[in-house]
Assembly symmetry: C2
Homo-oligomer: 498 residues x 2
Amino acid sequence: MTTQSIDPRTGKTFGPQLEDSDETQVRRACSDAERAGSVWGPLAPDRRAAVLETLADALDAQSDRLVLLADSETALGAARLTGELARTTFQIRMMADAVRAGSYTGPLVDEAVAGAPPAGHPEIRRLLVPLGPVAVYAASNFPFAFSVAGGDTASALAAGCTVVVKAHPGHPQTSEEVHGVLREALVSEGLPEGVIGMVRGFDAGSQLIQDPAIRAGAFTGSQRGGRALFDLAGGRPDPVPFYGELGSVNPVVVLPSAVARHDLPRDYVDSLLMGAGQFCTNPSLLFVPAGSSLVDAIVAEIATRSAGVLLYPGVVEHLESSVDRVASATGVEVLAGSRHHEAADGDNSLSRSPLLFGVKAAELLRDRTPLDTECFGPVGVVAQYETMAELLAVLATLDGALAGCVHGDADDGDARAVVAAVAERVGRVVWNGWPTGVGVNRAQHHGGPWPATTSPLHTSVGVTAIRRFLRPVAFQSVPAELLPVAAAGPESNPNLID
Amino acid sequence: MTTQSIDPRTGKTFGPQLEDSDETQVRRACSDAERAGSVWGPLAPDRRAAVLETLADALDAQSDRLVLLADSETALGAARLTGELARTTFQIRMMADAVRAGSYTGPLVDEAVAGAPPAGHPEIRRLLVPLGPVAVYAASNFPFAFSVAGGDTASALAAGCTVVVKAHPGHPQTSEEVHGVLREALVSEGLPEGVIGMVRGFDAGSQLIQDPAIRAGAFTGSQRGGRALFDLAGGRPDPVPFYGELGSVNPVVVLPSAVARHDLPRDYVDSLLMGAGQFCTNPSLLFVPAGSSLVDAIVAEIATRSAGVLLYPGVVEHLESSVDRVASATGVEVLAGSRHHEAADGDNSLSRSPLLFGVKAAELLRDRTPLDTECFGPVGVVAQYETMAELLAVLATLDGALAGCVHGDADDGDARAVVAAVAERVGRVVWNGWPTGVGVNRAQHHGGPWPATTSPLHTSVGVTAIRRFLRPVAFQSVPAELLPVAAAGPESNPNLID
């Protein structure tokens, strides 16, 4: 099997035919990663941080070339892709800062306590050590930030783990080029290329998570793909953790106290159609008070917007089947746009126009299809609720999601209950804002209950993403000079975060 | 099906026939736990800590009665069981202290940063919230500390989760009585009994981890049982985390610099035979320099020791098959004791005499059976190594284990490499000590790579055990008065640990 780039704007293939990795190549990438781990894992924190910064600098230096190539493969546009690459290198540098600060390398120490147990105990010095080589599955919709040099790779490297990336077929040349930049930077630092390996192809991806050298998996993509890999990771003779971010149907609630805000229709549609709607944080399920003029205003706003170009043919296919599913649900009607794409003669582009469904919130209690069908693309569902009790009843049945938003006034008597109901089902609650645009910072959490992720304890964005790739070891009465890892100070680490 | 107590000293059954929980009862326990969660989860930290202390006080008040009953079902002896109950209540109080200190309830806050992304971002306040009802599977060998009121229950409650315990059939009456004490204490505090539910029976255990209300599982027991439940947890339509501690073959290395220490044979045999060898931290694999007199001294020491009484018939059966497996491995010989138990007429007790196998370390590279066969009982394997290279080669092939020990002088030139090799394979490294006796403290780690546990990131002993039952939620620009959980201060939590 081979992979070739497709220009989403024309539907035409271009560039080299890239061969899938065969079994031998996958095995070699994993054993290279394992061998490289004996160099990368024990590096002193300062040195590891410096190498991460070298990787970021090398990517920034190639920004123009990489953005141009990624745009030709994804049609996401130069502005967005320039921003995304900046986000990617910002993220790598944030991880470098965390490594230098010792956010995860410092010890947690209990000094010895004299006397009999349970109060008495010997000295225990708990350190977090690298888990081992990590399989990183790149996403289609972020060719930089959730791909070869993305957050999973950055946090695994920060933890002291080496990485084997499974490249996404939606941007094969960009993956090659980014990987080339990283590899050269590693070599320039005197490090083995095996610190960041890469494989291509569907079968290679399945083999990768089952390779004996791999100690964890990290994935951003579809629910079907993520679940299949999660099952393979858990089904190994020696199961390994698998951190999958599988996308979600993100709820946004407009409370009566916010319904008259003039910016709402425009801001909602901006968020809904950003990147042609191809965000896992897309605000795809909007709850509005029944009978408000908001729905008409949104429909009018949608009518001013043009089609967006989807990433690759698989996205188009998946979107069409999701749209059919939602359309078939009880009480669902089309509010704006058309379910059927009619292309002009000779237009083979992957462009699709915005589509908005409407439904009464009460119907969702009878037929939950719109609640569990992610429409990955420029498609939204507006649900009109009659009463607060009805709204809360529907919110309680939501699938787990990455983000949820509430628009209202803080002194709205219902606001606290609605925020609480949303928090029960999501990993991030946004007040008077939109779910797209996940800030890269220390406290960020990009995760959530199943099916948003396979692992509700962990995030794929923010400094705490590092924790996914570390395991604790307690050193009992071990003299400092015999500790096998850096950061052997007697003090507990004041920077340690969770 | 019913369960009845067995006196391990006589092999005779006694006490009531306790019915297994049926499907309806398991479902009800789970829905009770879910409903109780809406009371227990939002409790203010001070109040939750106070209730935990009430539970500990109630158990301490019944110590004499509970110890007597547990001894009749386990034959572990009054001294050990009195200590174990003290450990159990100490552990609950330690969790209460952590709740009060806000070790996991405080926010991690990134203030808003003005400007465009990636540097600019809105305020993010990350809080850890309870995961939901937890299924706790009790262990046979710790009727208090890893059972109904044990570490898994204590840490789940501390996290704000309710619990449904699957009682262990090896001590059915003790489980009933402990549960009764906890239930009464909850009621005295005005809390629903559903905060700590309990079910009985093998099928009930399988149903429990698959119940829709259950959000996580915690287990201490055999590799076979733990793996089966892990597979059920991961195979759910909505997979849930499963924290299994499956026991292990714990390595102990005696370096040449320690071989002449006079206390070694006695201390080793003490640790090996403690609790009739029924500890998951049993030092079952001892590496000694070939040709040293240590082996003879150990054999002489073993000869002075009497038989130990095993917990229940399942342990005897499992031990016999493990012993047969190890005995059949290449190069394994019996150094002390006999493989075959010969009981006196009329002796139906579950007592078994100590047994020691010997093998050349080099043989373990050819036949690894002794490395992956846990003999849960008074059985050890002594492996003699010829060279440091040979020792390191064998250590690199060890299964993941809970603990590993190294005996030597700190200035022994090989000590650092051996400590590092052991640390690669275990969750706790002990210097010049023994693996049995896991201290209950903040930095403790009782875990390790597969097959020691199903989840190498987490511990079942120590304060960080709480983290298993919490999930992060990021609150973006949410006003403090709308936060659904306690600890809404503007400051990041200085106590937060990982």
